[in-house]
């Protein structure tokens, strides 16, 4: 036994100090370079002419219209996709039916199609050159270069987020609790509201936050269908680009800073909810 006695006790679950320092250093450097530095740059550039510059930039009618547009789009698209995502995930995770594999693949489609292509498809489908577009025009319904088109494009690109978050969680949880509720006499809608949804609410929240971030930040698809009409269809990301191209650096970065703040706010909200419901969170996760 004495021949294997270590000179110094080494904890079996940790790496040597050098390796640890290297890994931690690498992670910190990466976070600093790719996450922190850009964020700081955005705020620094926005504040290049001081707080007044930011206020002036955000008071520009074009900037305010873009902020209103982006918030409107998110307010419409995110709830719609939450509902769709819940329905799709529920169907896929809790029922067996023909064509399930096809549905799963279709949900992922927006991940693999370039947003610009998605935008172009909408323009081709609803634009003035198509039969549908001509009919819509004749009836004075505007889709392309208007809010409905932008909402459609946003719905398309944010399609997978909620469903993708929910499906694995729902599959992992299986049907046992729903079946238990059935034997206890609960009707289907009640089971959905009191068992299925509460059990998946963290995944749902996460999916909604991701979907919201993407809805507010989407550039490519929206740039194509919106036509980027200033003060009318331009969203925050497309307006940032236009300001930047016009060398209105403070305006561009001020708007970009608002976008970044909105993103930080959603993250803060999520952390707050997780912190307030820590006990429930622990209870609903299986170990």
């Amino acid at each position: 036994m004495s021949d294997i006695a270590p000179t110094r006790p080494v904890p079996v679950t940790t790496e040597p100090p050098l390796v640890r320092a290297l890994l931690i250093g690498l992670a910190v450097a990466f976070v600093a370079l790719f996450l922190f530095a850009p964020l700081v740059t955005v705020f620094a550039e926005a504040l290049a002419e001081g707080g007044r510059g930011v206020i002036a930039a955000l008071s520009l009618p074009d900037a305010r219209a873009a902020i209103a547009m982006t918030l409107t789009i998110a307010a419409i698209a995110v709830p719609l996709n939450a509902v769709f995502g819940i329905a799709a995930a529920w169907a896929i995770a809790k029922f067996d039916f023909r064509g399930k594999a096809v549905l799963i693949t279709l949900i992922d489609l927006p991940f693999s199609v370039s947003p610009v292509v998605a935008g172009l498809t909408l323009v081709l489908l609803f634009g003035a050159n198509s039969a549908l577009g001509a009919w819509l025009m004749a009836n004075d319904i505007r889709i392309v270069f208007a809010l409905p088109g932008i909402v459609l494009a946003t719905l398309f690109v944010t399609f997978p987020f909620v469903a993708r978050e929910l499906i694995p969680v729902m599959i992992e949880q299986g049907r046992a609790e729903e079946e238990a509720a059935l034997t206890l006499g609960a009707p289907g809608w009640r089971i959905f509201l009191t068992v299925t949804l509460p059990n998946t609410r963290w995944a749902l929240l996460y999916g909604v936050l991701l979907s919201n971030a993407r809805a507010m930040g989407e550039f490519g698809a929206v740039a194509v269908v919106s036509g980027k009409i200033r003060g009318e269809t331009a969203t925050m990301p497309t307006m940032v680009e236009m300001f930047y191209n016009e060398y209105l650096s403070v305006a561009a970065f001020s708007l970009a800073a608002v976008l970044a703040l909105l993103a930080l706010l959603t993250l803060l909200l999520k952390s707050l909810l997780e912190w307030r419901h820590a006990d429930l969170l622990a209870a609903t996760r299986r170990h």
């Binding site: 079946e179 238990a180 034997t183 059990n199 609903t284 170990h287």
Partner: protein
């Protein structure tokens, strides 16, 4: 309530789980479905609960045809193999679930629900665990909570799938005793599934031995021990 199972067969896409099984369960009996894994015990129990529909055959409760009756209308208290407690609800909320889910006109007032839940928690000898979450309970405690939850709906029968399967020997013995007492006190027709012949023989009034989707023998424990009807029963009970 007596239960008649008449020529119940069940096909899954992958094969046949039950071959025209018939069985008569007298009111108030404590019955064990005994057989090796894959013999169709769970499938038969789920058909009784209405969680699975038979491919052919009928089920009668007290003589009335119940084959097409929905799960909710059957009022079968079901204890799942993994208990299936609602993990985001406290023990109290779990037990109260069935009463709160009733339509308004038959739903007891909240004070009455609280009284009944308290009484059930006393019945399973865990009066103080109401505020806890399922993941804060031991396996044996979860099993008893699942039983209390099933009893809360004032079921017409009690169905239990491998109720003691995942527990260690000592807890198992206690809970077997507990189930027997609860059965005797409530007088509920009770069917439980097990692959453990000692458990079946010790606890049940009547043992139903199953193998490969068929019933091999139905009889009192002593009868089955003394006169096994088939080679399978002889081999299985000798093991």
């Amino acid at each position: 309530m007596n239960i008649e199972i008449e020529d119940i067969a069940k096909d899954f896409g992958t094969g046949r789980a039950l071959y025209a099984v018939s069985l008569s369960i007298p009111s108030g009996a404590l019955i064990a479905l005994l057989g090796p894994s894959g013999s169709g015990k769970t499938t038969l129990l789920r058909i009784l609960a209405g969680l699975e529909y038979p491919t052919s055959g009928r089920v009668r409760f007290d003589g009335a045809d119940a084959t097409g009756l929905s799960v909710q209308d059957r009022r079968a208290g079901f204890v799942f193999q993994s208990y299936a407690l609602f993990r985001h609800m406290t023990v109290f909320e779990n037990v109260a679930y069935g009463l709160r889910a009733r339509p308004r006109r038959t739903r007891p007032p909240e004070a009455e629900i609280a009284r009944r839940v308290t009484r059930l928690l006393e019945l399973i000898q865990l009066p103080d665990i109401g505020p806890r979450y399922p993941n804060q309970l031991s396996g044996g405690q979860r099993q008893r909570v699942a039983l209390a939850r099933a009893l809360a709906i004032e079921p017409r029968m009690l169905l239990l799938d491998e109720p003691f399967g995942a527990l260690d020997a000592r807890v198992r013995k206690d809970l077997c005793q507990g189930l027997r007492e609860i059965h005797d006190r409530t007088g509920l027709t009770t069917v439980f599934v097990t692959h453990d012949q000692d458990e079946a023989m010790a606890l049940a009034d009547l043992v139903v031995v199953m193998s490969m989707g068929r019933i091999e023998q139905v009889g009192r424990p002593a009868e089955i021990r003394a006169r096994p009807a088939t080679d399978f029963v002889r081999a299985f009970t000798a093991a």
